[in-house]
Amino acid sequence: MKRLSLLASLLCFGTGCMSLDFMFLGGETVDRYELHDDVIPAELVELVAFKRADGVVLKGVWAHQPNPAPPMIYFHGNGSSIQTQWDRMGHYWSWGTHDVFIVDYAGYGASEGVTTWKGLAELDGPATVDYVVAETGYAPEEIPWVALSLGGFVSLKTNEQIAAQSILIESVFSDSDSLVDDSLKLDTPNGWFFRSDWDNVDNITRIQSPIFVIHGLADDFILPESGPRLHAAAPTDKQLWQPEGVGHSDLWEVAPEEFQRRATEWISRWAQSPPD
C-alpha cells in the first residue's frame, strides 16, 4: 500500500495536485483474515460485519475471554489491518479483563469502501461503538477504548460524538503540521501540503472522556513530543506516560508487564458496574 501511495504521488508529480493526506489513508487490505491461534484460541475468535451510517460494510473481530467479560474496543493504526495487529490483540486479550473488539476502517483489511478523512473522522468510529453497544448491551460510557497512532485520530474524533468509559491512546501524532515541520526543519503552512485537517491537538480539546496518553521516547515515526502536546490540550481527566526505549508500536513487546499494569489500572479506575 505504501508503495502504491508513493507511486500515485510520483504519477501526480508535475500537476501540482499532490497532497500528503495519503500518508494517513493507507491501510493494508486482505481478501480474508488469517488469524493465528498462538495466543488467542480459535474458538474464542469471532469475525463479524456491520454497516456504517453510509452503508459501507466494516469487518471486525472479537477476541472473547473464556468467561463473560465486558467489552473493550481497539482502534488500530495506519498501514495495518486486523491481521497485522493480531499479535497486539493477543496482548490486550492476555490481560484477561475484557472481550477485545478490533475493527478495520473502510478500505482497510477486508472492510469495504475506500479510506477517507470523513470516514475516519466521522463514520468508522461511531459505527464501531454503535455495533459493540448493540451487540453487548453495555452503554458507551461503560466501554473503554485503546488506540494506536492513527487510531488515536479515530478515537478522538469519535469521542466528540460518543462517550467512552475511558480512552488510552498510544503513539498518536499531535498534528500534521508538526510532522512536516519536523522533517523540513522549517515552520511551513500546513495548507501547503494537506487538504484535510489532521490536528489532534485541536481534536482532543473536544473529547468528553478521561484519557491516558502514552508515547515512547524512542519513537522515530511520530515525534515523542506529540504526547505532552496532546496531554496538555486534553480537557478531561488525564494521564501521561512516556516510557524510555519504546518506539512507535512496540510498547506491548518492550514493556508488556508495565504496559498491562498501567493500562489495567487506568481502565479499572473508570470501570462501572456492568449492566443488569
Binding site: K2, R3, S5, L6, S9, C12, F13, G14, T15, G16, C17, M18, S19, L20, F22, M23, F173, S176, D177, L179, V180, D181, D182, S183, L184, K185, L186, D187, T188, P189, N190, G191, W192, F193, F194, R195, S196, D197, D199, D219, D220, F221, I222, L223, P224
Partner: protein, 219 residues
C-alpha cells in the same frame, strides 16, 4: 511518516553561486538538480530526491553579480510557487594556497495553498548567507564553504550547512557537483522522514549544477 520524503522536493535549493565571479555584462543560465538523500523510497539503496531550480545570473561588475531562480519542483508537486533572488561578490582573490573568497546573500520566497479553507496556506521568506573559498585548478575549481539559512518568521529557524564541491569548466559550460551536510545540528533518528547523514545527524545532499555562460567574455 516516511512518505514525508516528498517534502524534500522543496528544500536544498541549488548549488553554490559563489565559486567564481561572472565577468561584467555577461550572464549565465543555471540549472540545479539533486537534494537530500533519503532511505524512504522502497529501494535497497539511498535515493537522491530530485530538486530543480532554473535560474539566471548576471555580472554587474567584475566582482559582483546578481542571480535569480525559479523552483519548479514545489510548484509541480504541491502547487507551491518558489523563487529566490540574490547577489554574489568577490571578497578576496586567491593566491597560491589561499583560496578565493566569495560572499553570497539570497532571499527565497515560497507561497501556496493546497486547498480552500483549513488547513490554511501562506507565504514564507528564507534569507541565507554563504561564504565560499575556492581554488582554481586550471579551468576547473574546487571549493568549500558554509551556508547559513534562516527562517525569520513565524517560527525562527536557523541552519548551518557546510558544503564542498567542484566546478568543471569546458568553454562556456560549467558543471558543478556539490555535497552539502544540511542541518548537521539536528538528530535525524527522531524525524518523520528518514535522512542519511553523518553520525546520524542532519541530511547529506548531493546536487549537480549546470551553468551556461552567455555574452562576451575576456579571453
Amino acid at each position: 511518516m516516511r512518505p514525508l520524503l516528498v517534502l524534500l522536493l522543496l528544500v536544498g535549493c541549488s548549488v553554490s553561486h559563489s565559486v567564481r565571479p561572472l565577468a561584467k555584462g555577461t550572464g549565465a543560465l543555471q540549472v540545479s538538480m539533486g537534494g537530500p538523500i533519503s532511505k524512504d523510497l522502497p529501494t535497497p539503496v539511498a535515493f537522491v530526491v530530485p530538486i530543480t531550480t532554473l535560474g539566471y545570473a548576471h555580472g554587474l561588475t567584475e566582482k559582483t553579480s546578481v542571480h535569480g531562480a525559479f523552483h519548479p519542483a514545489g510548484l509541480a508537486a504541491f502547487g507551491i510557487f518558489g523563487m529566490d533572488l540574490g547577489a554574489t561578490t568577490l571578497l578576496a582573490e586567491g593566491e597560491g594556497a589561499r583560496p578565493r573568497f566569495m560572499l553570497d546573500g539570497d532571499l527565497a520566497f515560497f507561497t501556496g495553498d493546497n486547498t480552500q479553507g483549513d488547513p490554511k496556506g501562506g507565504s514564507r521568506l528564507f534569507p541565507s548567507v554563504e561564504v565560499v573559498g575556492a581554488w582554481d585548478l586550471g579551468n576547473h575549481a574546487v571549493y568549500t564553504g558554509i551556508n547559513q539559512f534562516v527562517q525569520p518568521f513565524p517560527g525562527f529557524r536557523y541552519h548551518v550547512t557546510p558544503l564542498v564541491g567542484t566546478m568543471l569548466t569546458a568553454k562556456r559550460v560549467d558543471v558543478q557537483i556539490e555535497y552539502k551536510w544540511m542541518a548537521p545540528a539536528s538528530k535525524n533518528a527522531l524525524t518523520a522522514a528518514e535522512f542519511v547523514g553523518p553520525f546520524g545527524l542532519g541530511a547529506s545532499a548531493v546536487q549537480i549544477g549546470l551553468g551556461i555562460r552567455l555574452g562576451k567574455e575576456k579571453t
